[in-house]
């Protein structure tokens, strides 16, 4: 019997109540919904780091990452009228981001693009050694992520790197909860295996 079939208790903490930052985003969204596009620029500025970072984990650091950021916000702008506060705004934003990433990953796959040596998503800090370590880790993580299917990758990245619970991921990606759990389960095994291969090949 595999763990995937186990009915796991949902011990992963459910999202905390909206923070001050989240409330601020909600207010901005309301203004955007009233056609105040200056609020959209502010919304962009407040969330772009998170979106950029997430996209980077989802698709890798590509030269066209900025295009994807743009694309995400263009879609967000179109999608905002649909947002009725049914979920946290962050969840909504992650949903839009996932769609952009998904389209992109599929496109790349269709093009059978060779991933080659994938540049990492982290960047310079202060301590050179920690930087080198983080860079190495990031490189490995990117390569391991690149072996996964798009949908599994999204679930895995959202859970392991973006601190989203399965419920929230299910909501963001409009996927049944159990599907999310199952994808996460497989993604973890694939990721561990890929990392084993990568680190084993290295040492």
């Amino acid at each position: 019997m595999s763990a995937g079939a186990l009915s796991l208790q949902r011990v992963i903490p459910t999202p905390a109540p909206p923070t001050a930052a989240e409330l601020k985003l909600m207010r901005l969204v309301e203004r955007v919904q009233q056609d105040d596009l200056t609020a959209f620029e502010e919304l962009y500025r407040l969330t772009r780091d998170e979106v950029a970072r997430t996209l980077c984990h989802l698709v890798g650091r590509r030269s066209d990452l900025e295009d994807l950021i743009q694309e995400t916000y263009l879609r967000l702008l179109k999608a905002v009228p649909r947002y009725k506060g049914q979920s946290r705004f962050r969840t909504f934003l992650y949903g839009v981001t996932a769609n952009v990433a998904l389209m992109h990953l599929r496109w790349w796959r269709r093009r059978r693009e060779d991933l080659g040596d994938v540049p990492d998503c982290a960047s310079e800090g202060r301590d050179p050694e920690a930087v080198a370590q983080a860079a190495e880790a990031a490189r490995l993580v990117q390569r391991a992520l690149a072996t996964m299917s798009a949908k599994k990758r999204i679930v895995f990245v959202y859970h392991e790197l973006c601190d989203m619970g399965p419920e929230e991921i299910a909501e963001a990606t409009d996927t049944p909860y159990n599907t999310v759990r199952s994808r996460l389960h497989h993604a973890r095994m694939e990721f561990t295996a890929a990392m084993r291969g990568l680190t084993g090949a290295q040492s």
Partner: protein, 495 residues
């Protein structure tokens, strides 16, 4: 049942398992070297993820920033333009507010079309008071609409309006002069010593920009942005379109749709209501107007212009109030404020000034009824009337607009609050900051003062002036500890 389940190992390592399951896994681990090894792999994998999660992430957004700004700008311009004209008036404000934002943003980026100054004069001149030089039929509108006479002080944020036959010449802190034609409305969005942003809501505005070094000098109208590169130009806004005429230097004109373009000295460009442009040359009247306006701006060393008093109560354009230097202007304004006889700085004036009504016009606002004090238009002068109406269409525009705005120059506090509140979502609220402050500072207004304070705070917030917003919310909290908007105020003030 728990044998060799790698996925459970991850959940075990992540402490996601209920304690019972965790104990089972733990027990299994003690007797299974294979799973111990796998757990090491899982921990390695999770360690790499943790390192990635904790790493700094830096990213440059130059391209994305520009794209977002473009999209937002375009969308707003489109929104402004797709409305019928009467709404378009306020629609233009939406765009202008945004363009201001976008402009400030662009000026940080290297490829930004920063307004190059035609000439740079050093050292920077002392800031002059922002004031009316000469006015007929000029009012500042808002919570306390009042008529402005010669020498009246102005402030950034003021919204000025001229009567159909009025006109006004203003001096900005950085030395530029503005001439507002009849039936016009102009917001002095920003009139600092190093930064000028004006919003021409309708009518005709002539500008003689000084050579002072500054961050920017922009005029917004109907969603179009005119950036000053050179010095003397005029903008006319009417329901039929917008016209920009340049006598000296160069301006960059950015219509809400289509490409930005330059208009150089001697040229004029006219945009119709669909932003199709047509070029031509400067008319003689425009040349005269702009050269008259520019004279006293650029030529600080020029000897005083002899005053030729016009017949009757008319004020000969520019002459009496034309200062010959910054200090002259200062004393002129100071004198005016004291409502004295003509300033002593003009002893050479051939005009028998003191007895002339036009010279003492500055007293009138104090004596006469608010609306009809300086009501006479200036008498015909060599530069009238054509100068004030290069676009014949300007008149209908103002007549039309009067249905919207002109009927009650005295706005009630409620109206101001309403308009300010509405402007929040249009990015144009900065025009109301001053009025809101007046209302908010007047405790006798009770709930209106409270409302004004909160709208003001929201405005700063909307304009991304974070520090000002916090400050304003703190003021709110101090004034209204049990107020209606305490949650909101605390939320922002503590952020």
């Amino acid at each position: 049942m728990m044998r060799h389940d790698e996925s459970l190992l991850w959940e075990y390592a992540a402490r996601e398992l209920p304690s019972e399951d965790a104990r089972l896994v733990q027990h299994h681990l003690t007797e299974c070297p294979e799973c111990q090894e796998k757990l090491t792999d899982v921990r390695t994998a999770r360690g790499a993820l943790a390192a990635v999660k904790g790493a700094d992430f830096r990213f440059t957004y130059a391209k994305a920033d520009a794209a977002i700004a473009r999209v937002v700008e375009k969308k707003m311009a489109h929104a402004a333009f797709s409305r019928p004209w009467v709404l378009g008036l306020s629609g233009a404000l939406v765009t202008a507010g945004l363009l201001l934002v976008a402009y400030g943003f662009w000026s940080k980026a290297p490829p930004a079309p920063l307004p190059e100054l035609a000439e740079v004069e050093a050292p920077a001149p002392r800031p002059l008071p922002l004031a009316v030089e000469r006015a007929a039929g000029l009012t500042v509108i808002g919570a306390q609409t009042r008529v402005l006479g010669n020498g009246a002080a102005l402030a950034s944020g003021d919204v000025l309006r001229t009567e159909a036959k009025g006109e006004a010449t203003l001096r900005l802190p950085e030395g530029s002069r503005l001439k507002l034609g009849g039936g016009a409305q102009l917001s002095l969005t920003r009139a600092d010593s190093d930064d000028v942003a004006l919003q021409l809501e309708r009518g005709h505005l002539a500008v003689a920009a000084s050579h002072a070094q500054r961050k920017g000098f922009v005029v917004h109208t109907e969603g179009m942005m005119v950036t000053v590169v050179g010095t003397r130009f005029a903008v006319t806004s009417s329901r039929d379109g917008v016209e920009v005429a340049v006598a000296e230097g160069k301006v960059s004109v950015e219509p809400p749709v289509g490409l930005p373009q330059f208009v150089s000295a001697g040229q004029r460009v006219r945009f119709d209501s669909r932003w199709r442009s047509q070029r031509g040359s400067l008319t003689a009247a425009e040349k005269r107007e702009l050269s008259a306006l520019g004279e006293s701006t650029a030529d600080a060393v020029k000897p005083p212009t002899p005053v030729v008093p016009a017949h009757g109560g008319g004020t000969r354009a520019a002459a009496p109030a034309t200062p010959t230097s910054a200090s002259d202007l200062k004393s002129l304004v100071a004198d005016a404020a004291l409502e004295l006889a003509p300033p002593p700085s003009r002893p050479a004036d051939p005009a028998p000034a003191p007895s002339k009504p036009d010279m003492t016009g500055l007293e009138v606002p104090l004596l006469a009824s608010p609306v009809e004090s300086v009501g006479h238009p200036p008498a015909p002068s060599p530069t009238t009337p054509g100068d004030w109406a290069p676009l014949p269409a300007a008149k209908p525009a103002s007549a039309n607009a009067s249905k919207l705005n002109d009927e009650s120059p005295e706005e009630s506090p409620d109206e101001v609050l309403q308009r300010a509140d509405r402007s929040l979502s249009h990015g144009t609220c900065d025009r109301f900051l001053k009025q809101l402050d007046q209302l908010a500072s007047d405790a006798s207004r009770g709930p209106r003062a409270e409302k004004a304070r909160i709208i003001r705070a929201r405005c700063f917030d909307a304009q991304m002036r974070v520090r000002d917003a916090k400050e304003e919310y703190r003021r709110y909290l101090m004034q209204y500890p049990g107020g209606q908007y305490v949650d909101e105020a605390r939320h922002i003030a503590d952020e």
